[in-house]
Symmetry: C3
Subunit: 279 residues, 3 copies
């Protein structure tokens, strides 16, 4: 089931038939690119159709990065080649919406940076647990002249309230484990040394429950809490439109000159760097 | 107004014409059964029609239990005999919905376990305050192969956000006072020694205000925050359906063999016990 | 742009073309009166039409008061003379709704009391930061027999959940910096000595970003999070109706005899005083 490409892999490892792990292993920075779209799509499809799996944990094999922004070095035609997904949405928001709607319980175990796509995947998951010391969550896009495209304007205000959502989105800054917990951006932050056992314990527990009871309970929560797809679709359109504007092109270009997409300070301290672009 | 039955009583004690206390006294565990339905219905009707009462506090006379799960030893025909309530919902969700809509302010003062019906009554109340040391909140149902039936899939995501609501519902675990406060499952948790005076102080304060101003302000909050009944009704249907499935029957039977419905470890540490049923 | 009147002024000070400060300077207590309506209206209109401004910070020049309740000493005809605003709402809720919808990012920097209109303006703003030691937020109205009129029944439950919103509104008590942060009534509370630099840093950061990316991102958050105007309008009607009732007239009269609208204990400890009116 795991797919290996030159652009890294998204590893699917069943801990048991009921409990799967999906590990982002896209060296060196877990930057999400077009090659990863069919990988994630295959996994999402499996979650939707497998008759045994009850819970999936998303984590990372890359030190310092849970999953970060989209690959801006990829050829535009590579990103544009994917057909609309089953929901009628573009490929990336389609997969995220389907993770939320899936009868399988999804848990993001966040160690390192969850920025852009990484934050959006975490927000589409059912629960989020973070390393208190090592997690950094952010929607960095506005800092680069972009509008986020994967659902956070629809999901964050429903999760953490309008005020804190606007702060996250409009300051485009890094949010550490303590603040993410205070804001409800994650369910809880845990000492880094405890995170893996804690998440594993929750996953094992849910995996021991009845699949129908899980699925029906989640389905009813979905009715009460999921944004309609009609709020998700315009975000992708706004993202694409913003990407074509000179403000974004100029900022991304300058970030590239500073070391964006390479291991180093820009990727590690992205919140700081986007804060300096317009000064 | 208080009704005594073999199945314990729900005591209605007016502290003043404006401020009532409703105390769950169903020994030995505050398990809510069919005999308690007409007791609570009479109280809810009084809250709706009394011209003076402004605030009601729900609390418990039973050490260790605020109010817990439904009585699974009751004969099914005893539970099925009640007609639909005034809202057109089944008897239990009908009463909970009417507490939320009532012009009277309802406060759950939670000391001990608030599980299942107990959590659902707390969630239907306008405010919840908990003993930091002695409160345990939970929706245990999924752990027993059941779907909760009294509204928590509609109410919890609106109160604490989708992620934390899914954690509470799908891990089916006990939530203590500190975590309940962090999550917003309760308004605040207080040192046990301060809880009673604190809640009494809030109730006395509200009781001193103008009934029309209270009722009109609450009515406008209701418009902004109450789930529609159309989200409440399917929960009860899902609960009944889940109750008939082998997964639930098997788990409840095994819990019974371990001491469910009796004073002791299973009822006191219900979160732990449901976590072991499927392993 | 700043307007000076006998009733104090609301100072508009551009820190830069992209970053404006709006300072409430209505001695001695920052009581908001009819003379301040056209002042604030002019500022809101400027925020809507200026082509450069990206962020505005609301703060206070008055020690101990961010912005407090409406002026009950003003002649009723002075308050009633304003035409409906552009949204079709009454003048005050019209301005608040327009602040929320504006493409400009609004930040309330709360030091001192934010009660009534002050809390409502903070809630209409995009973000709220508070002095941990010196901020007091409240909706005091129910304590005076009134129904709040500027949107808090629509905005507070969406921001902090139904239970905590009902507590704020129905206890009508003062909420300090720590509790406001726990409840999410403000984004964060900061040590008083750090508040100004912190807010300035956020404002400078946002001011350095692309105006289109900011506006489009906020527009999409608005879709997910703003109450419809149809929920705002009834609040003003309920406020006006409550103001005419004997309960409110009597309570306001007694507050006046105790020192309401004058520097001193009643205004400084308003939560305590309304709690004693009905005892």
């Amino acid at each position: 089931m795991s797919t290996t490409t030159a652009a890294g892999e998204i590893l699917l490892k069943p801990i048991s038939p009921e409990y799967w792990r999906v590990t982002f292993d896209i060296p060196p920075l877990n930057i999400f690119g077009p090659a990863n779209i069919p990988q994630l799509e295959a996994i999402v499809s499996s979650l939707e159709t497998d008759r045994l799996v009850k819970v999936v944990v998303f984590d990372s094999a890359i030190d310092g990065f849970f999953l970060t922004h989209y690959d801006f070095l990829a050829k535009p035609e590579e990103s544009a080649k994917f057909p609309l997904g089953r929901t009628g949405l573009q490929a990336l928001p389609d997969m995220l919406v389907r993770i939320s709607r899936s009868p399988v319980v999804s848990i993001a175990s966040i160690r390192g940076r969850a920025t852009g796509v990484g934050s959006e995947l975490a927000l589409a998951s059912d629960m989020r647990f973070a390393s208190r010391e090592k997690a950094l969550l952010s929607q960095w896009e506005v800092g680069a002249g972009l509008v986020p495209g994967g659902g956070p304007m629809a999901r964050l205000p429903r999760l953490i309230g309008r005020g804190r959502a606007l702060e996250v989105l409009l300051t485009a800054n890094d949010i550490n484990g303590d603040l993410a917990e205070l804001y409800g951006y994650v369910n809880r932050s845990l000492p880094d040394a405890e995170l893996d056992d804690f998440v594993d314990g929750i996953a094992q527990r849910i995996a021991s429950f009845d699949k129908d009871a899980i699925a029906e309970t989640k389905r009813l929560v979905n009715i009460a809490s999921l944004p309609p797809d009609s709020e998700i679709a315009p975000e992708w359109e706004a993202f694409i439109k913003s990407l074509g504007r000179p403000a974004a092109q100029d900022r991304i270009k300058r970030l590239m000159l500073q070391g964006f997409h390479q291991p180093g300070d820009v990727e590690t301290h992205l919140g700081d760097y986007v804060g300096l672009l317009g000064r």
